[in-house]
């Protein structure tokens, strides 16, 4: 094995939790191949790896959601076998899952204490629960009412509730699987502060994130998984981002961002003073008077945090949300109507939440790809199988979907490949403007590169490409032109090489109120 | 804005509902006037001259005939009437009796919704001083209702079975279709059939199936039975609806000359008897029983006595091709 095993500081302390030679087989897939990992108390262990490398499986085994096929788990030096996740939780191991596991129909309080209700004389004591809930939320710098419904919360707030639930369990070992995917920068900062407080108390934290830089900020130790094997472990101070990327994929990060020279055409999409009401709170404008132009052949990136209005802007352009005021023009013609009419006019959206809004899980890869453009293959009411098949297969090649074939169930694909299918589905409608909402969210490094490559290719073909991102690295490297959105307003419009990373971050946080490159 | 719209919707719903109710009550005008008078009367003497008639669902022409006859009779004697149906739902029956009590009805004519489930509501009316006269179906308690006038199911089944035996010439294979097993009459009729038929060793029952009083079930089951036993010469059914279902199945299987006997004396069955495709049915004189009940109610209101024992039975009449023209809707012309 190629492991560079350097672990001076973990060796200094007795590990609290150890995975020893753990193998996990699902049906016939080997998700883990003899992985060993030591977790030291009071330190943050960050686990790196591409999608499908086995990170989530390892976390599930450590938290007893799954049991290992071979190998074992040692807690405080003794071999343990947990009967259930509840067992593990009682022994001080809590996990924050990648997928939110909250009941949206219940209040924050009910969710926090679900299964461990605080009772007085056999009855649930709401006063006690409310006080404890308030305390733990305050610790996360949140002033949410513990009695408000989870369904009324933003995604980021829901994630904080999930974190609060783990904190309430007074865990000795806290496992966090992508805890920040929906959090804004200030929220992430608060979370990191809490993590620091926890480690100071001796809690061991295991942390997984696709935000490599962010994860490296909080790491004490790092471990890198590749294809189910542990390929390297190291102390965070000894390594840098380039090392992480190299170890994960075996190449430098620069290759992620291909350089290109755009050839700009006429104005493809133009908005004039466009405003969109916040669907969750109709009194507020999510998009507030935005005017922008995108030319054919141009890739435009929108950088903005959660709640900046980027999703609402794209959904309005795609016809899913109505405009409160303002106009949208597509090649000079007014763009109106339903999602369907706009797709026919040539505007296609790749939505942010691909599970919920992008894919039909009960259908195959091919059926998902052709769904939007199915009528193109209809001859006298009947769908031409041959026509559909060849179009689907060429699209699979075009967007480089890695699947066993067009008939593979969509659920068998990794997150990155599912994202490519959603993009492919949009491209099948032969759009003139391609809108992508956070196309790199929950996608592994290699697939990210493929997604950006596809975007660049489409721009070269003359499409206008508009995408959003919450990662500064992407915002600075991918688009030909960068827009920065803060609370529904456009604060910057400039080529990305004219702005520094720090300046971009402070603009997006709303800390810097000067505007850049706007007339 | 969304609130005001919702409010508007609620108001609209309420208005429409109220409108509908008004229209419906206007339709039921016959009892509306009675209601008004009844209320007026109650303020002075606590007794109205309203006779409440409660029957099962009027879907069935039998119950409709029964209700119509009682209504006509009562009105000819100067009473106000209200006719309602309980759809064989004991709960609804109880509500209808409550309504009659609160309107201080002079008497209740009831075709009840269950031999046991109806004892309580009848007792309730009696306690409120309202005499109850049961028709068509009995309850499992005596001394509560003033009269229980039922057609003699056992006798009816026997005369139907005797005609069946005669038409079969005392030999051959036959099928019996029975009614809903939870209904007492289904058992009484089946027993009546068998008491007679079992005396003739030449008659062999090749199948017995419950078709739950339903025409289509009788059709399907008869078709299936014919597959196993193509050699069937007779069908005897617990009611006419099932007999008609069996007839349709026989027709579809192109079997002619099969003796079919039913029970009830429904107009559809009598039409088939006239046409010669059905042999006979035992007619329950629904109208007669209802009229009898109204007369006894009148007697009781005037004298405090019915002059009859509580349990009375009215014999069924055999309808064959020979006398079919003498019968109307559940009554002899």
């Amino acid at each position: 094995m190629t492991a560079t095993t350097t672990r001076p500081s973990t060796a200094a302390r007795t590990p609290i939790l150890q995975a020893v030679d753990v193998t996990k087989v699902y049906g016939g897939t080997q998700a883990l191949k003899g992985v060993s990992l030591d977790i030291a108390p009071g330190r943050v262990m960050v686990l790196f790896g591409e999608n499908g490398a086995g990170k989530s499986t390892l976390m599930k085994i450590l938290s007893a959601v799954e049991s290992p096929t071979t190998g074992h788990i040692e807690l405080d030096g003794e071999t343990v076998q947990f009967g259930s996740a509840r067992d593990a939780a009682d022994r001080g191991i809590s996990i924050i899952h990648q997928e939110l596991s909250l009941c949206p129909n219940l209040s924050i309080q009910d969710n926090l204490f679900l299964g461990r209700e605080q009772t007085r004389r056999g009855l649930v004591s709401r006063t006690v629960q409310r006080e404890q809930a308030k305390a733990v939320l305050r610790r996360l710098d949140e002033t949410l009412d513990p009695d408000s419904l989870v369904s009324e919360l933003r995604l980021g707030q829901q994630q904080l509730v999930e974190i609060a639930r783990a904190l309430l369990q007074n865990a000795r070992i806290l496992i966090m699987d992508e805890p920040t995917s929906a959090l804004s920068a200030p929220e992430v900062e608060v979370l990191f502060q809490v993590i620091r407080e926890l480690t100071a108390e001796g809690v061991a934290v295991i942390y997984i994130s696709h935000h490599l830089e962010e994860a490296l900020d909080i790491a004490d130790d790092v471990a890198v998984l590749r294809d189910g094997s542990m390929v390297a472990t190291a102390v965070a101070d000894d390594i840098d981002l380039a090392w992480v990327v190299r170890t994960m994929v075996g190449r430098e990060q620069d290759s992620l961002f291909p350089a290109r020279e755009p050839t700009l055409g006429t104005v493809a999409l133009e908005t004039i003073d466009l405003s969109v009401a916040d669907p969750a709170n109709p009194d507020r404008l999510a998009v507030d008077g935005i005017s922008l132009q995108i030319r054919a052949g141009e890739t435009v990136g929108i950088y903005g945090l959660m709640g900046s209005g980027r999703t609402e802007l794209l959904e309005c352009l795609a016809g899913r949300l109505p405009a409160a005021s303002g106009e949208v023009h597509l090649y000079g013609e007014p763009l109106t109507g339903s999602v369907r009419q706009r797709i026919q006019a040539g505007v296609a959206l790749v939505p942010e939440d691909r599970q919920r809004d992008g894919l039909v899980q009960t259908m195959s890869v091919g059926e998902n790809l052709s769904l939007a453009a199915l009528t193109n293959f209809v001859r006298r009411f009947i769908v031409s199988r041959a026509g559909e098949r060849s179009a689907v297969e060429s699209m699979i090649t075009n967007v480089t979907v890695k699947a066993s074939g067009a008939n593979a169930p969509i659920g068998s694909l990794s997150g990155g490949n599912q994202q490519k299918v959603v993009i492919g589905k949009a491209l099948m409608t032969d759009p003139r403007v391609l809108l992508l909402d956070e196309p790199s969210r929950g996608v592994d490094v290699a697939a990210k590169a493929d997604v950006f490559e596809v975007m660049a290719q489409q721009a070269e073909r003359g499409l206008a490409v508009l995408f959003t991102t919450s990662e500064a690295e992407e915002a600075l490297h991918i688009p030909d032109r960068l827009l920065v959105l803060v609370r529904g307003r456009l604060v910057a419009d400039l080529p990305p090489n004219e702005i520094t990373r720090d300046r971009l971050m402070s603009l997006a946080d709303g800390a810097d109120t000067t505007e850049e490159g706007l007339q | 804005m969304p609130f005001s719209r919702r409010h508007l919707l609620t108001t609209a719903t309420a208005t429409v509902t109220a409108g509908l109710l008004l229209t419906l009550s206007a339709c039921g005008s016959s009892d509306d006037s009675g209601k008004a008078q009844g209320t007026k009367a109650s303020s002075s003497s606590k007794k109205s001259n309203l006779i409440a008639i409660i029957t099962p669902s009027p879907d069935n022409p039998f119950f409709k005939a029964e209700g119509d006859a009682a209504k006509a009779k009562a009105e000819s004697m100067g009473y106000k009437t209200s006719v309602a149906s309980h759809d064989d739902d004991p709960n609804k029956q109880s509500e209808l009796i409550d309504a009659a009590i609160s309107r201080h009805a002079a008497a209740i004519i009831l075709d009840n919704a269950g031999a046991d489930a109806s004892i309580g509501p009848v007792q309730k009316a009696t306690n409120a001083g309202i005499p109850v006269f049961l028709i068509d179906r009995e309850i499992n308690k005596t001394g509560v209702a003033k009269a229980q006038i039922v057609s003699n199911n056992s006798q009816g089944a026997q005369i139907a079975a005797q005609e069946f035996v005669k038409a079969m010439k005392e030999k051959g294979n036959y099928v019996e279709l029975t009614g809903l097993a939870s209904d007492t009459n289904a058992g009484v009729r089946s027993k009546g059939f068998n008491d007679v038929i079992s005396q003739y060793p030449g008659l062999k029952k090749v199948a017995q199936q419950a078709a739950n009083w339903d025409q289509q079930q009788a059709f399907d089951k008869m078709e299936t039975i014919l597959q196993r036993n193509p050699n069937v010469q007779g069908v005897i059914a617990g009611n006419d609806t099932m007999a008609l279902g069996a007839l349709a199945a026989l027709k579809s299987a192109k079997k002619t000359g099969v003796v079919v006997v039913g029970f009830d004396g429904s107009p559809d069955a009598i039409a088939k008897i006239k046409a010669g495709t059905m042999q006979a049915t035992a007619l329950q004189p629904a109208a007669l029983g209802a009229q009898e009940a109204v007369e006894q109610a009148d007697q009781f209101i005037k004298t405090g006595k019915t002059g009859q024992p509580e349990k009375q039975s009215i014999d069924c009449e055999l309808v064959t091709k020979a006398n079919a023209n003498d019968f109307g809707v559940f009554a002899k012309k």
Binding site: G28, R320, M363, A372, V383 | D59, T224, D268
Partner: protein, 388 residues
């Protein structure tokens, strides 16, 4: 692959063989489960044939199939609704209403303005009935797509409304003698119920034709694909630009028309129409669709399964009648069969997932790359599925 890893090569080969064997085993099991409804039907037929020699005769099979057709036609309509992730509880009442409309139309329609009685020909009566069913479906569709009433509630309401309409039109009485009258040129209604073109009753031909139409609709038209997608993920499908509301509307209209057709078949078989006809038929139709492997959550199910489901229910009922089993047991056994069918369906879903995983490994290990060379031999021998 480097040539120094001979022991690993052997283990890789072994692993591949095991995974492939596991995949084959699961695939066999899966196809057994896939055919579970067929197997259930075969078992039913075998058992009944053993117990009664009049069960498996051409004549009886035709009779039973004719009985199946009524529920089969309903179930095909219901299948579309369930594929969408909806439910249609109003079909039983629509059966009754359709029969009543046929009865009223054959009796003669009073055209009050002209003071004449019109006697529409039989084909017009059938079309009229189908239109009434389609109208009930349209109302369901409008309630569900425009007014956002939950399908269960909307169609539950229409269950009562349609039944009430049937009782109102008929005045509660049965329409006898739907044979028509030669003097009014509307005879022949009984033909649908009684005639046997090419030896099969018209009802069976109707079911066959409808099954073919629905199968083509589902397999080969854009509408069919849109329907599966809507059932699988309505939100994503709508965002894809599929006219989801129109799809939903159409399935309820088709379901209503199927129910009306069923009502016409019943009325013509009996040559009489009762307003109570079709009571609780919706439950039989749902049972057939579910036994046929469709998911009530939508997106999964097919014509073949639904038809087999209808046959299982119908053959079971008629077989028990032939054996002379009491009605109480018939009801009990029907319930048990529905539950067992759904349990088997759940197990099949599980096997399907495991089978897919195992064959994925067999494929992956068939093209070993350098990553696989790192696999350690002591773990490579782990038997797949041993952990479960």
């Amino acid at each position: 692959m480097t040539n120094t890893l001979t022991t690993d090569n052997a283990s890789v080969l072994q692993q591949r063989r095991q995974a492939a064997a596991e995949a084959r085993r699961l695939k066999t099991l899966n196809s057994v489960f896939e055919l579970r409804a067929f197997i259930a039907l075969a078992v039913l037929i075998a058992v009944f044939s053993l117990l009664s020699d009049s069960f498996l005769t051409v004549d009886n099979v035709i009779t039973m199939t004719k009985h199946v057709a009524i529920n089969g036609v309903l179930a095909l309509g219901m299948l579309l609704v369930i594929l969408k992730g909806g439910i249609d509880l109003s079909v039983g009442s629509t059966v009754g209403l359709s029969g009543v409309v046929a009865g009223e139309a054959l009796k003669g329609l009073h055209v009050s303005i002209f003071g004449v009685v019109a006697y529409p020909p039989v084909w017009a009566v059938v079309v009229l009935c189908l239109m009434v069913g389609a109208v009930i479906g349209t109302i369901n569709g409008i309630l569900i797509t425009r007014l956002n009433v939950a399908p269960f509630i909307a169609t539950l309401g229409m269950l009562y409304v349609a039944r009430g309409a049937a009782l109102l039109i008929s005045g509660g009485t049965t329409y006898p003698n739907l044979g028509g009258d030669p003097s009014t040129h509307n005879t022949g209604f009984g033909w649908i119920g009684a005639d046997r073109p090419l030896g099969l009753p018209v009802a069976i031909w109707m079911m066959i034709a409808l099954a073919i139409i629905v199968a083509v609709l589902l397999r080969s038209t854009a509408f069919g694909r849109w329907l599966y997608a809507t059932g699988g993920n309505e939100r994503a499908t709508e965002l894809t630009g599929v006219p989801v509301k129109r799809v939903k509307m159409i399935v309820y209209v088709i379901s209503g028309a199927c129910a009306a057709l069923s009502g016409v078949i019943i009325a013509s078989e009996l040559t009489s129409a009762a307003p109570q006809a079709g009571d609780s038929f919706e439950l039989n139709a749902i049972a057939a669709v579910v036994i046929g492997g469709a998911a009530l959550s939508g997106g999964r199910g097919n014509v073949r399964g639904t038809l087999v489901g209808a046959f299982v229910i119908g053959f079971l009922a008629d077989g028990l009648v032939i054996l002379g089993v009491s009605t109480f047991w018939q009801t009990f056994i029907k319930g048990a069969v529905i539950i067992i069918a759904v349990i088997l369906d759940q197990s099949q879903q599980r096997f399907q997932r495991r089978g897919a995983a195992a064959s994925a490994v067999a494929v992956a290990t068939a093209q070993p790359d350098t990553e696989l060379a790192e696999t350690r031999p002591d773990h490579a021998t782990t038997s797949p599925g041993a952990s479960r």
